[in-house]
Symmetry: C2
Subunit: 125 residues, 2 copies
Amino acid sequence: MKMKPQDDEPRLRLRLFFANGAMIGPGKADLLEVIRDTGSISAAGRAMSMSYKRAWSLVEEMNTAFRTPLVERARGGVKGGGAALSEAGETVLAHYRALERKAQEAGADEIAGIQALLSDMSDET
Amino acid sequence: MKMKPQDDEPRLRLRLFFANGAMIGPGKADLLEVIRDTGSISAAGRAMSMSYKRAWSLVEEMNTAFRTPLVERARGGVKGGGAALSEAGETVLAHYRALERKAQEAGADEIAGIQALLSDMSDET
DNA sequence: CTGCGATATGTTTCACCGAACATATCCATT
DNA sequence: AATGGATATGTTCGGTGAAACATATCGCAG
């Protein structure tokens, strides 16, 4: 009577550190994604319940870290402004997601090997 | 005239989150390694310039998170005490290192793809 | 039975990060 | 030129986690 394991599988989170000090991890990737979906930094911040300032700071970091800004920002205009992913932004996001996927696949065995040694958690709530 | 790239290659760091709340990342892995090399928690702490308390806390976390303690500790004795990796400890460490390696390999292309878009850093000190 | 070196833990202090608050600025539309 | 929604940016405040400090305990060697 083994019910299908929903999502008790471990999650692998990875972060890339570059030589220039820049880094990208789950937070920035998610932010890029939500900015693309919502069309604005502030909307993305709200959606992720993250302060606008923080969201903006992360965008600023990314834009300066890369040769081409990942997020293109517009002030004023029809709806006051907005933000969208640049070509580079789309590319970086896609690469990062692919990296996550591949890493998870490639390491599945090792992950399982570690998990097998974990404390029992069958009766946890 | 392409000189050999020393270590400006980006470093991939990954952390595993398990369902029971336990997690393991570069810090714990390194600590395990140094404990194995030095034979004591305090020596490991010194070697990594980490407070003994912090090192001990991490060990404690790991030991409770896994069914079998990863680090076996001894108080008193010939040289006052000591610590060593258990079988499980060795296994977990090995798995984690392998995971790192495989992930880095599997994601090499994506990593390169992201790095190619980074700000120029050829003239950085 | 005392000393040593390491483990084991509690308490306090501090630096940093993010949240919250506060404005300032921009500009197509009306 | 007035509006409005979003970007842009500085400042203050509080919580969290690590560092620092302080002991307590253990057990063999001598």
